[in-house]
Amino acid sequence: MPKGLQPKLDISPKVSDTIKKTTCYMCACRCGIDVHIENGKVKYIEGNKDHPVNKGVLCAKGSAGIMQHYSPARLRAPLKRVGERGSGKFKEISWNEALDIAKNILKPIQKNAPEKLAFFTGRDQSQSFTGWWAQQFGTPNYAAHGGFCSVNMAAAGIYTLGGAFWEFGSPDWDKTKLFMIFGVAEDHDSNPIKIGLGKLKKRGAKIIGVNPIRTGYNAIADEWIGITPGTDGLFILSLIHTLFKAGKIDFNYLTRYTNAPFLINGIKNTKESGLFLKDKNEKPLVLDKKSGAVVPFDTPNIKADITASHTDENGLHRTVFQLMADKYLCKDYAPNKVAKSVGISAERIVKIANELATVAFEEEIVFDQEWTDWKGERHKKMIGRPVSFHAMRGISAHSNGFQTCRSLHLLQILLGSVEVPGGFRFKPPYPKPATAHPKPHFKVTPGSPLDGPHLGFVHGPDDLAVNEEGTPIRIDKAFTWENPMSSHGLMHMVISNAHAGDPYKIDTLFMYMANMAWNSSMNTQGVMKMLTDKKEDGTHVIPNIIYSDSYSSEMVAFADLVLPDTTYLERHDCISLLDRPICEADTVADSIRWPVVNPDRNVKGFQSTLIDLGVRLKLPGMVNDKGEALYKDYADYIINHQRRPGIGPLAGFRGKDGDCRGRGDPNPDQINAYIKNGGFWSEKIPPEAQYFKPWNSSYQKWAVDRGLFDSIQPYVFQIYVEPMRKFQIAAEGYGLKQPPDQLRNQIKMSMDPLPTWWSTKGSGNESSNEFPIHAITQRPAAMYHSWGSQNAWLRQIHGENPLYISTKIWEKHNFSNGDWALLSSKHGKIKIPVALMKALNEDTVWTWNAIGKRAGAWALDKNAPESKKGFLLNHLIHELLPPKGDGLRWSNSDPITGQAAWYDLTVKIEKIDMTLDIAEPVIAPQDSPVPKAPHNIKYGHEF
């Protein structure tokens, strides 16, 4: 059309009146967002260009945040149950009434038996606060969702390296040349991983994806390894075997930065066997090559000998490295031995080992940056091995996950690629070894706070949360012989244990942000029953349930009292260095959320609600001597609370004038300073401190300056985890604290101080003959668990989910498009629609996670596709293993950490000879406590 005739357009419209910068909450990645406000209403959300996490990009969920903020499923006022549990019948009550009810339930508990409160907080982004609240209440029963999510990853990383993947560290995206990603669909580091992959693609660096399913990140991988679920550990150990055999290992790195040269007590059958040889100051010993003497490992100017053995009056002691050579040179890990189990040919395993070695050792990168190590040695350059790794729940959500994650860390270490240019880098406050973390605390004194933080890292049987008789002190049985290193608790066992009264009965289940009556639980129907079960006297087996949610979820229907939260744009929040910070590898950072609009409903930020409740309960630390509130609300707490003198929830803009970083007095204007700065605070780590952080003296000094630690904490990587050996020693019968007999073998086998592997088939969850197919789930990028479905935009992308089936299984059962199948496990059966996928491990089926919904929830129509064709695999997974005939309840978890073994599920499949119109099981609909949703919407018409 000739230009003159073209319509006149306004190509420069005003975007909005104001931009308010805050933090996204549509997942735990916590990207910075610019919220555009027009006429007081949220109009448009985009990524914050200056933000260290997302640098301006925004994922689908983040952009759809608007629809979440305006969701029809938002709760509107506190709710008191009026129908049966699970029915969804409620009456709206005032906040005063709601908090009084809560107080009347909780006060007697706090005074007499605080452990009768189980306070679990789901995917909480304020754990340093909620944990503190629970501590002040005095209950030992607190944890967030980590135990069923990815504690294997976190704990294995911290025990081994002093940090794991995701929030603890990331690949050196700008320099790495070969990147290998294990078992990741989306992860919490969602945008940074995508930004990173984009960088690799731009530079032409190679990506290898290890995943039974080739979607998402694996779809763009240059090489895809469709591994058999549960066998990554074996595959990795086979790579290690091959590298060992070829001698392609970074010996220098092992010598300097790991406990490979540590001498191990070689005397058999004592309570010291297999522990480090130590000097009087408890310092592990190494053999100095120069002097031939046995000296503490951190003695300056020595050259530790990794191959030599040391004989003293007691006998022969060998180094960790020798034990490693023993173990990993063993034929059991030879590629041709493992090929069949892992589903990868021996030739290909060798090829990958070769590629890793070639890039690590032949393409090493040199970075002109001087630095000084912890022993005072000055290095002219930073030498990097540009091979990096990332992994997530695909390896951690198995019952062998802890050791698999450890194996991967071992591989990283052997290639010398941790904390070096081009390798894997920590994000502050990591690196932070297990020894720098607290131990678990569980000493209950009625009426008083707990003796310390609940969660932490055990270093041996003495740290277990068991009483004299060996019975668990925590309701979730965390830190017990069943799963000694359960650093994140076991949220998935709380309801089941509370229902069974094992180890004891509780009075009140108080939960926040966890859809435990639906997708957060295994055995969903069973859990719904446990929540509703009554005793003979007509009272509930779990007497009181208090729950906080923002939306009309499935879990809401099971609560007696609902404390409605705001949406993320309506409240204060704090993403703290005391918790899980938003730092990047070269930047320390924390951030806030703040009310960019005010709620138009009778709802309150949950953290402020907790403070209000704490004041009503007169909890120590929340009231002064006169019983007056110390903090008016959460914002006030964020500003004024101090964990240690000068250290508070936020590290930025501290001190009276806001010019202190990390350490400093509370600054009354701190939140405004954050708002002015774009909702976050960040500081680049000085260049000299950016790599080799565990051993880099300028990093260590800087970290102390910033309040990350109070004293410098250099350490070496723990290839050999001595605390694990301590549990084995106990299982061998030494020491005062003894495991129950039925657990001795499990402990001896699983607590190998060197990374190892066992088949998940031994977990009792599978029987390869009857249930030969692996069944797993993946996170869809455009959905967040259950809450995505209330989002008018996102639910159009994922409104239902078929079961994807490999060609082999598809053909074997003669499936065709549109078919339905009966899928069964040892535990249950579901009927579901199926679809073919070829880029899939041949013994695997899978589906998207958490698309299925209970009818009536989330303000959706009762006939919504989510409840008709959407389904959960959770019905087939049980929180307990099938009974072994010993009368005991064995949890379906990793024996070390208690991590829920979601992906151990195996099934069988049968074709159904008709098309169903609803997936089974069909769960009776719940009533909706919120009004009916509008029919058609045209968001944006008012602007």
Binding site: L9, V57, T255, D326, E355, A839, D861, I937
Partner: protein, 251 residues
């Protein structure tokens, strides 16, 4: 009238990198988000919380499964929006003149005030890039974010389409294909950008950068540094350890 300009000064469009796109739908939603409260009528959603939700989207991501050269299978995510064709058939079929291609930059737009909602342009488009909004009854399509790319109320670095700005992997590139020195033109040349359905002669401007040829079974062209080493490294433990010693001496 809806005839096409003989030549446009610029040929603005997108280069979409299929080798990098992870199928995250960020571009889909950011597009919906920007365009529902900007240019023209909102992008409505019918039965939004019901049994059969259908909404207007200007950009959608398809997912394909493709057999590779060595009989492996790979998944390719394929975002699709208007390709701002040079010989846009959607423009010439339009009976009202509502559809037009801008002479200055080649952007194909719908003047919603003149659109009668006959749907003919959507039929004419080979790529499924036009969707009739069920609420407004007018044709919606990708505007190449015309109200962003020239918008003086937006910082200069942000004057790019919403989908490009949001894309976390940087798989979407915006620019002028008429200028051979532009980033997109160069990308397209160096990566052999694909023109979709050339046989229909719409001459799309957008280009798709194909998944790079991969050796899906691992690279064969790497030197094998392991095998010769394996032969040199002694197999028994004692020999292995003393070999390690010798290696360490050299460091």
């Amino acid at each position: 009238m809806t005839s096409l300009p003989k030549n446009t000064v610029k040929k603005l469009g997108l280069a979409i990198d299929l080798d990098t796109c992870v199928g995250c739908h960020a571009c889909v939603i950011s597009c919906k988000e920007w365009n529902t409260s900007n240019y023209g009528s909102p992008l409505s959603d019918m039965d939004a919380y019901g049994e059969n939700p259908t909404g207007t989207f200007l950009n959608r991501v398809h997912t394909y499964e493709v057999e590779t050269e060595n009989n492996d299978y790979k998944v390719v995510h394929f975002p699709k929006s208007c390709l701002h064709c040079e010989d846009a058939p959607c423009v010439t079929v339009c009976p009202t003149g509502a559809s037009y291609k801008r002479e200055e930059d080649g952007i194909v737009l719908v003047n919603e005030d003149a659109c009668i909602g006959c749907g003919l342009c959507a039929w004419a488009c080979p790529y499924g890039a036009r969707e009739m909004d069920a609420d407004a009854g007018v044709m919606k399509k990708c505007t190449l974010c015309i109200d962003r790319i020239y918008n003086e109320n937006i910082p200069e670095e942000d004057r790019q389409p919403a989908c490009v700005r949001a894309c976390p992997t940087n798989a979407r590139h915006f620019g002028d294909f008429a200028d051979p020195s532009s980033h997109v033109a160069k990308l397209s040349t160096s990566r052999c950008g694909i023109e979709l359905m050339p046989e229909l002669e719409a001459k799309p401007v957008n280009r798709y950068l194909p998944p790079r040829l991969k050796t899906d079974q691992g690279s064969n062209n790497l030197p094998d540094i392991l095998t010769p080493m394996i032969n040199k490294v002694p197999k028994n433990l004692k020999g292995f350890l003393s070999w390690v010693d010798k290696v360490l001496e050299k460091i």
